[in-house]
């Protein structure tokens, strides 16, 4: 029972990370229609930048963190202007390919600029070694931070989208581009905002993940990007709470499956391998898509003729 609780908690923590990434993915997909496969690379580049600040000029952790987040905002703006705007009118698939290419370009550039990050290195944080014991349950400080930051971001983003003029304009743009343009919404600014906000979320997720694993390299976000996309689709690709719930579901499934499958094997096949776990989650994801193509929380899809 205790093990189960502990694993559930771990699932919630990894799930929050997936959920955070899914949030940013949904934010950009909803407003600009770009399926951002470069999302992991954006987060990773920001986290790598922070690592450079921490190890190069030996900045304070929090100062480096703030600078990295600023860097993320700028990166989001640059990417929107130089890359997303020219392909704005292209079909969804073209944009998806473009982001896939963008992720490889970003990673290649990062590898050339910071050659020390091509292989995994230690990511120093002030959280290391601190942990809480609630009863018999163990909760490290960074896990607690992950949960808190996710909750705060979720609430903050939701308040922003529902209660500020800019947020409402953003939702309007997502619902109808030409209509909101006619209503005087500065659509270009909204796209810019969506990209830089999502880059910010990516950077936060990246930094949290690097602190959680204490290891960083240029490609460290790649393995979890797919699961983040699974989470976003489960949530229906159009709702922020849906994305977070999808992330939590995937995180829980990941950790609980790891607990269930640990040490077992079928014949010579070790089914506790992460590859098998990924396959099971992915199979479940396809099943959900087949039964409910709009995702668990999404609205029904309409096909316009």
């Amino acid at each position: 029972m205790l093990v189960f609780l502990q694993v559930t908690l771990a699932g919630l923590v990894t799930g929050s990370l997936y959920g955070l990434l899914a949030l940013g993915i949904v934010l950009v997909y909803r407003t600009t229609g770009v399926l951002n496969f470069a999302y992991g690379a954006i987060g990773a580049v920001c986290a790598c930048f922070m690592y450079i600040l921490l190890t190069g000029p030996h900045l304070n952790f929090w100062l480096a963190c703030i600078l990295a987040l600023l860097f993320a905002l700028v990166l989001g703006i640059v990417l929107e202007r130089s890359f997303a705007r020219p392909v704005l009118e292209a079909p969804i698939f073209t944009k998806a390919i473009a982001t896939l290419a963008l992720s490889l370009v970003l990673q290649t550039i990062a590898q050339q600029v910071w050659p020390q990050l091509t292989s995994p290195v230690h990511f120093p944080t002030p959280f290391e070694g601190h942990a809480l014991h609630i009863g018999a349950i163990y909760l490290s400080l960074i896990d607690l931070t992950v949960l808190a930051v996710t909750a705060l971001l979720m609430v903050g983003l939701n308040l922003f989208l529902t209660h500020t003029k800019l947020g409402i304009a953003m939702r309007a743009t997502a619902d109808g581009l030409s209509a909101s343009r006619l209503m005087g919404v500065p659509v270009g600014l909204i796209f810019l905002l969506a990209w830089s906000l999502s880059a910010l979320v990516a950077a936060i997720a990246g930094i949290l993940m690097a602190s959680e694993q204490n290891i960083i390299d240029v490609q460290f976000m790649n393995p979890i990007l797919l699961l983040a996309f699974v989470a976003a689709v489960l949530g229906g690709l159009d709702s922020l709470p849906g994305a977070l719930i999808g992330g939590l579901l995937v995180g829980l499934a990941d950790n609980l499956l790891a607990l269930l499958l640990a040490g077992h094997s079928i014949g010579a096949l070790p089914i506790s391998d992460p590859g098998i776990r990924e396959m099971l989650i992915f199979g479940g994801f396809i099943l959900v898509l087949l039964l409910r193509p709009q995702g668990l929380l999404g609205r029904a899809l309409l096909r316009r003729v």
């Binding site: 997909y29 399926l35 496969f37 890359f83 020219p86 392909v87 292209a90 969804i92 698939f93 073209t94 998806a96 390919i97 473009a98 896939l100 290419a101 963008l102 992720s103 490889l104 370009v105 990673q107 290649t108 550039i109 590898q111 050339q112 600029v113 050659p115 790649n222 797919l226 996309f229 699974v230 689709v233 690709l237 010579a268 096949l269 070790p270 391998d273 992460p274 590859g275 098998i276 990924e278 396959m279 992915f282 994801f285 396809i286 898509l289 087949l290 193509p293 096909r303 003729v305």
Partner: protein, 373 residues
């Protein structure tokens, strides 16, 4: 391209030929004759090219001597890339299915061949056939859900397939305690560069010939109709489900074949054959070459195949200011960058340039043909 679209799509639905009014039949004949004469004019060039390619090894040996083997090996690889590019183009350029999953079939084909020839001691051709069959089955498995899933969801699901296949192939390697799957049991003649070159040349020629006809048949027209408007195609009586699935299966078989041949070419199968990098390479080929064009697939494959050679001409490590850049680490990034630039500035690809040139030269002929049909 536009001309083909307008003449090919709005064919009357499936009524038997004799039911149609005479004039319709007549004009259809004229259109068919017209398009045949258009294909007919390509033949001398194609034959000439073929003869040239058949003589290429000899010419190369004469000109370059010792380094010829390596160059020939590289050209053989382009042949394999052409197959993969054609497969991706059928799925993406013709049937307009946003699938990123072809690399999975590529890896699977290579591993199937390795498994059958190495572990099961089967003859080489059985390995190839089984690799293609397994890819076909996989294509059905992937294609069936794809009929219900569309757009963004399909792109994510198929990209997931690539990741998944890679980790499963990795798992297969690690459980057997090997780094990569070496093919030690290849038939003797395929280890010779010249023989391999001619084998691939024959395979590519046959497949190009077959595809050229397939794409001009009812199947090809149905794919193009689905691409241009799925709803309209359905309304015209095209069995959308059937043809979409067919596109997945044909593409999977071709990619599986390409994967098996690639493993033969490198005498090894690695799990990186099913990776995002590979997906990007395929997409670069068809986007730079031109979507929905056989010629485009060929041009794109040639481009992607030769790019590493061009990059190899740069000094390595390259010094830019304080940075030392190993050229070999750049290849995939350069592909991706070119893909990006092509998507932004040049969305119709290399083949559209040729097409445009041809239209300019034969402008009046084409216009007359359009009014006739």
């Amino acid at each position: 391209m536009n001309i083909q679209k307008t003449t090919l799509v709005p064919l009357p639905a499936k009524a038997p030929l004799s039911d149609r009014p005479h004039s319709v039949q007549h004009s259809r004949w004229r259109a068919a004759l017209w398009s045949y004469s258009r294909t007919g004019r390509g033949w001398p060039a194609a034959l000439g090219g073929l003869v040239l390619l058949a003589l290429l090894p000899t010419i190369y040996d004469q000109l370059f001597g010792s380094s010829a083997g390596f160059e020939l090996h590289r050209i053989t690889l382009i042949g394999i890339f052409i197959l993969a590019a054609l497969a991706q183009n059928i799925l993406t350029g013709y049937a307009a299915q946003p699938s990123l999953g072809n690399a999975a079939f590529f890896g699977m084909g290579g591993y199937m061949l390795a498994w059958l020839t190495n572990d099961l001691n089967q003859p080489y051709w059985i390995g190839i056939v089984v690799a293609m069959l397994v890819s076909a089955v996989l294509g059905i498995i992937v294609g069936t859900p794809a009929l219900r899933i569309s757009g963004a969801h399909l792109a994510i699901a198929t990209l997931g397939l690539v990741f998944l296949t890679q980790s499963l192939l990795d798992l297969w390697d690690t459980t057997n305690g090997r780094q990569s799957y070496d093919l030690n049991n290849l038939p003797q003649f395929l280890t010779d560069d010249h023989a391999l070159y001619f084998t691939i040349l024959v395979v590519v020629t046959i497949i190009l010939f077959a595809l050229n006809h397939l794409l001009r048949s009812r199947v090809g027209r149905a794919w193009i109709a689905i691409r241009d408007s799925e709803a309209a195609a359905e309304a015209f009586g095209v069995n959308v489900t059937h043809y979409k699935l067919l596109a997945f299966v044909v593409s999977a078989i071709l990619t599986g074949l390409a994967g098996a041949l690639y493993a033969t070419w490198g005498t090894t199968a690695t799990s990186t054959m099913s990776s995002v990098d590979q997906t990007i390479a395929f997409l670069t080929m068809i986007v730079i070459g031109g979507l929905g064009s056989i010629l485009g697939s060929i041009l794109g494959a040639i481009f992607v195949g030769f790019l590493p050679l061009l990059l190899g001409q740069l000094p390595s490590p390259l010094m830019i200011g304080p940075m030392q850049i190993q050229i070999s680490t750049l290849t995939i990034g350069v592909y991706a960058l070119l893909l990006l630039l092509a998507l932004i500035f040049f969305p119709n690809g290399l083949s559209s340039l040729l097409e445009r040139g041809r239209t300019l030269v034969a402008g009046h002929v084409v216009r007359r043909g359009e009014t006739q049909s």
